[in-house]
Symmetry: C2
Amino acid sequence: MDTPAPRRTRIQQEKRELILEAALEVFSTNGFRGSTIDQIAEAAGMSKPNLLYYFRRKEDIHETLMQRLLDTWLAPLRELDDIGDPLTELRSYIRRKLEMARDFPRESRLFANEILQGAPRIMPMLEGELKTLVDEKAAVIKGWMRAGKIARTDPWHLIFSIWATTQHYADFDVQVRAVLGPNRGGDGRFEDAARFLEQLFIDGLKPKG
Amino acid sequence: MDTPAPRRTRIQQEKRELILEAALEVFSTNGFRGSTIDQIAEAAGMSKPNLLYYFRRKEDIHETLMQRLLDTWLAPLRELDDIGDPLTELRSYIRRKLEMARDFPRESRLFANEILQGAPRIMPMLEGELKTLVDEKAAVIKGWMRAGKIARTDPWHLIFSIWATTQHYADFDVQVRAVLGPNRGGDGRFEDAARFLEQLFIDGLKPKG
DNA sequence: GCAAATTTTGACCGATTGGACAAACGTTAG
DNA sequence: CTAACGTTTGTCCAATCGGTCAAAATTTGC
């Protein structure tokens, strides 16, 4: 409805991708207001007016970036399956989220920036699509608890905690690396985190007695 | 060494406090670059040149704010005591951190903003003071594990997870409230979170038979 | 090969920004 | 009362910002 006919030239497609890639880099490290069109243009290897030929306003770039992000961002939770084995499902959800923090830290920071500032541009999506999805998956988890397959807890706060702990390794990466130091803070930190989080969540969720 | 003689008038003390309070509000919601001196001045109820009489540069305000923040921010971890009962110590550490997220969300967001942007202004403190403190407390926790008082895990990632989960309720507050909805997202959400986190961390850390 | 359409650029604009400055205003101690 | 000191304000400035525009350069369809 809102995108009637995005007929695009080959050049347009390529250049738009280039700009979005550059904008992701710039926005995720400086925030929206902290980033300038010039910075993005330079990172994309083109002049400012040229960039503005592809995206007429700075906010259009951010909006496009945000729309793409949200799809991939919620994919792991969408895959949480009622059918599968509960502990296996949760374990792979945690692993997938941690992999996203490792492989797409800029996307994570872009999202964190948006939320930190009060989510002015995606509030409807949080209260709509996101809430619906979380409620749905919380119901699934509650079902597992009722069936005695996992220990009883608050499913919503469980999901929050998984989000918080996994995204922490992207959003607070500099702090994590600074504290761990050059040895433990190297490439192995994600495997260490994976082991720790699996123990914390999965062992903790095994049904009691 | 760096603050030789901060002799200050009564008016200076009062006005500086006023400015810092206003700046905390503005910086924590807009980030450093996203905030303007005019905004802070207006929030503090004074003119821009008047504000610049008390803080000569915008960055001076941010720096002062950050220095104050770091002291109070690490206080809970500093209090983690080797002498006390391990599970009690950890439980009250988690509770204290969650209380800080509830009572000082602006400070939490200010800190998160700084880290998100790569911690350009506090990197030395992260690699110095913070790393030292965390290493020290990690050693304490390791001692508890060796003594069989709590289950074995990675102390560093345990601390990261406590930080992540508790601060989440300040930094991602809008998302938490949006997902929980008007009923569960009300004032009780911190008590729910406290219960959940205690179960997650404390029960999970009880020594295995 | 050429005309039409697309892409790129340099020059420019008004608004906003952080900050400087001197003059005006208030306060306070003797 | 008054001189010295502290505080406040209006005005101004250079730099940077998001964005425009027309003209030049390039690509594309035939």
